[in-house]
Structure formats: structure tokens, C-alpha cells
């Protein structure tokens, strides 16, 4: 599983070499390099898009757009370490998400039909409703705050990883996260009260 902590944090030398080779192959335009990158980062990109958009179909479309766009811009990727490559894909994804929202093509709905319910259907529906309220409340946040919350609470990135990939200090990320959570809490409160 892509979100497995041991998989994420324990990128050993062999994994690093494989990723570097995959990036180099992709930069040479070799399909196997792209397939390796796709296998490694598709879930991350999809999760990021889904966390922001809340619609499965839209998230799938955006994720596809990200990998198509990546083909044309892989030459600009210099740092081939995993955090940098992941940050590069997420950076493209962030822009694609913003483009998608600006186009106004966001479709309301939770995309419950996208996957068969695993467990209590009522509990799952409640979870999706709550998630949708969070996404709605995030409209009150800035784009940077939304980006940090997705990285921290959906992709489980550490403060250090977020700081490194967004080119901020750890303190700045912490501060931004604190303000984002505070804004989110205020935005959610009246809805709960209602």
C-alpha cells in the first residue's frame, strides 16, 4: 500500500536507485521508466486530487492529466530523489486541481458509486458527508494552506518533508498549518452547530 509508513519512510538504497533509473529512463522517453513512475506515484497523485476535489471521476481525470503533462516536462526534473519526484508530481497536480476548479467543472457529489461500500454503508456515507464538509470549509483557506493540509493529513508527510518540498522552513510550515487548522475549525463550527 502506497501509504504504508514503512514503505514511505524506508526507501532504501535499492529503491532510491530504482527510482533514479526510472526517472532517467523516463527522461530518455522510455516507456518502462514511465510505467515505473506511474506505479509509484499514481496513488499519491490520485489521493491529492481526490482530497481537494472530492469527486472520484474528476480526481481520476485530473490524475490522468497530471501524468500526461509530466511527460512533456520531465526534462526539467533535476533532483531524482523520491521526495523531490513526489513533490514534482504533486506540484503538477496542484496546478491541475486549481485549473479544474477554475474551469468550474467540479461536479458536486461524493462519488459513492465509484467503489462498492466495504463495511457499514451508513458509516461510510457519514464519513463521506463529513469529508465533503471539510472540503467545503476549506474554501475559506488559502491555496497554500489547503496544499499543506493535504500533504500533512492525507498524504501523511512529515513537517520536514513538507518544508523541504515546499521550500519553507519547518517553523513556517508549522505556523501555516496552525493557522489553517484554526480557520478550518472556525469554518466547520457553525455547520456543526446548525
Amino acid at each position: 500500500m502506497i501509504f504504508d509508513e514503512t514503505h514511505r519512510g524506508g526507501a532504501n538504497l535499492a529503491d532510491t536507485n530504482r527510482l533514479t533509473q526510472a526517472v532517467e529512463a523516463a527522461q530518455r522517453g522510455e516507456a518502462h521508466g514511465w510505467s515505473a513512475l506511474f506505479e509509484r506515484f499514481y496513488a499519491d497523485v490520485h489521493a491529492y486530487a481526490l482530497a481537494r476535489l472530492g469527486d472520484v471521476t474528476a480526481a481520476e481525470d485530473v490524475t490522468q492529466d497530471v501524468f500526461v503533462a509530466a511527460v512533456t516536462s520531465i526534462k526539467t526534473l533535476r533532483d531524482r530523489r523520491e521526495p523531490a519526484v513526489q513533490a514534482w508530481f504533486l506540484h503538477i497536480c496542484r496546478h491541475k486541481v486549481v485549473d479544474h476548479i477554475r474551469r468550474g467543472s467540479r461536479q458536486r457529489g461524493l462519488g459513492l458509486e465509484a467503489q462498492p461500500p466495504m463495511g457499514d454503508p451508513g458509516a461510510i456515507a457519514e464519513m463521506h458527508l463529513e469529508a465533503d464538509r471539510v472540503r467545503t470549509a476549506m474554501v475559506e483557506l488559502t491555496e497554500d494552506q489547503r496544499d499543506i493540509l493535504v500533504r500533512r493529513f492525507v498524504l501523511d508527510q512529515s513537517l520536514e518533508d513538507v518544508a523541504a518540498t515546499t521550500r519553507r522552513s519547518v517553523g513556517a510550515v508549522k505556523s501555516m498549518q496552525h493557522r489553517a487548522l484554526e480557520s478550518l475549525r472556525r469554518a466547520l463550527r457553525p455547520k456543526r452547530a446548525a
Binding site: A47, E60, F67, V71, A131, L188
Partner: protein, 254 residues
């Protein structure tokens, strides 16, 4: 993964958001995205390496290349033809522009450049290329050079200036002799002993009444490059020294 210090309600909301967003992507969507990506990879590899500016639009690439090359060749031809175009020709503007640019270049020695331009005009006059206009240009350049020359009259540029001035005077005299009409830079109709400066070329006025000249004056009794001794070395009745200004023509012989 939420911080234990976060408000419990907010923490629950974030957990729901996280779980909702971590749903596994659908298989067919994943395969579709993979195929779309590989299609672009294959298309990019068929196109080959990054194209240059002119090959961005292959259909118009050749036309753009030809038009650009023709423009560059035409501009270079005009510049080459007009580099030393004679005065009066249509391309003289190129030469004038070239001289203007040379003068504006940082670090250029304006006195030297004006002397060079004057010498070119004198050479044109010698070759009978619009001699009247060439001598006018030479006179103007010498006047400009005069204003740029240093006060140190032992400088080699001063010797060069005096030689060019003498050449100008000689050429103007010859032109006057050949043509009944006066040359554009000929001396005033009735010069006096005290005022030898021609009209239009008076960067400095020699003083009468014993005043020091602000301009390049030849010392009294010294050989004058322009006067050739015809003016007797100055020494008018008013006691002032003779003054020579750039472009000065000798007084007509009585």
C-alpha cells in the same frame, strides 16, 4: 494521522476527510491514465528531440527561415554599402548613423573620431565625390574635433588637427579656384585681419584687444597650419594676437 492537540471534532473531521480521499482508484481509470500517458510518451519519442524555433511550425518553418535569412542579408548589404557612402548618396544616412553610433559608444575618443571623420570627408573631396559637401562635412567635423581636443597643444591630436585644417583650407582654395561659385565653407566675403573665423565654424573666438583666445590659437609669429604664413602671423593694429579657429580659411589674397 492527526495531532492529539487538535480539537476532537476537527480531528474526527480530518480523519473522515483522509479516509474518504484515500480510496483506491478504480482499475479502469488507472489503466486509462496509464495508456494515455504512454501514448504521449510514444508520440513524443516519434517527434524526436526538442524542436528549434523554426521547426515549431514545420509547415511555415522554411518560409520563416528564408524570410529571416533574406532580411538579415538585406540589412547586412545595406550596412556594407552604406558604411562609407559618399555624401549626397542615398546611403549616406547609413554612414552618418554609423558615425553617430561610434561617437556614442562608451570609451570612445570623440576628438580622434571626429578627426577620422573629417579625414574621410577630405579624402572624399580629393576623389571629387561631391567635393563641396565633403568639405562642408570636413569643416563641421574639424569644428567638433576642436571642441573635444584637450588644452594640451603638444598633444599629437593637435598636430593632426592642424594638418587636417591645412588640408581643408587648401582644398577649399582649390575648389574656389575651379568653381566660380563659393564653396560652402569659404571664408566670409570681407574678412578682416582680426577676424579670420569663417561663418558657421566658430567653436572659439580669438580675442581682439589683447585678450587671450579661448580657442586653439597659434602663437604669434609661429607658423600657422592654416594660414601658411599668408596672414603674416597676425599682429594687427589693435595689438591683438592672430586667432585661428577650426575650419578657418585663409583670407583671400588682396
Amino acid at each position: 494521522m492527526t495531532d492529539w492537540m487538535i480539537d476532537p471534532h476537527l480531528s474526527a473531521s480530518l480523519d473522515a476527510w483522509r479516509e474518504s480521499s484515500r480510496r483506491a482508484p478504480r482499475r479502469h481509470a488507472r489503466e486509462r491514465a496509464h495508456d494515455a500517458m504512454l501514448d504521449v510518451v510514444v508520440a513524443a519519442s516519434r517527434r524526436g528531440p526538442a524542436r528549434s524555433f523554426f521547426s515549431l511550425r514545420p509547415r511555415f518553418g522554411h518560409a520563416g527561415l528564408i524570410a529571416s535569412t533574406a532580411t538579415i542579408v538585406a540589412a547586412a548589404s545595406v550596412a556594407a554599402a552604406g558604411w562609407n557612402a559618399p555624401p549626397g548618396s542615398a546611403l549616406f544616412v547609413v554612414r552618418a548613423a554609423r558615425q553617430g553610433v561610434m561617437l556614442k559608444l562608451p570609451g570612445s575618443n570623440d576628438a580622434t573620431l571626429h578627426l577620422e571623420f573629417a579625414e574621410q570627408s577630405l579624402a572624399d573631396a580629393r576623389e571629387r565625390i561631391n567635393p563641396a559637401q565633403s568639405l562642408t562635412d570636413a569643416s563641421a567635423e574639424l569644428a567638433a574635433a576642436f571642441s573635444e581636443l584637450s588644452s594640451d597643444q603638444t598633444s599629437p591630436l593637435w598636430a593632426r588637427y592642424r594638418l587636417d585644417e591645412a588640408t581643408l583650407v587648401t582644398d577649399e582654395s582649390e575648389l574656389q579656384t575651379e568653381s566660380p561659385t563659393p564653396a560652402p565653407t569659404s571664408a566670409p566675403p570681407e574678412p578682416t585681419e582680426d577676424d579670420h573665423t569663417p561663418a558657421g565654424t566658430k567653436p572659439a573666438q580669438g580675442g581682439g584687444d589683447g585678450e587671450e583666445s579661448a580657442g586653439p590659437t597659434t602663437s604669434q609669429g609661429s607658423p600657422s597650419p592654416s594660414g601658411g604664413g599668408d596672414d603674416g602671423g597676425g599682429g594687427g593694429d589693435d595689438g591683438g594676437g592672430s586667432s585661428h579657429s577650426p575650419g578657418q580659411s585663409p583670407p583671400p589674397d588682396d
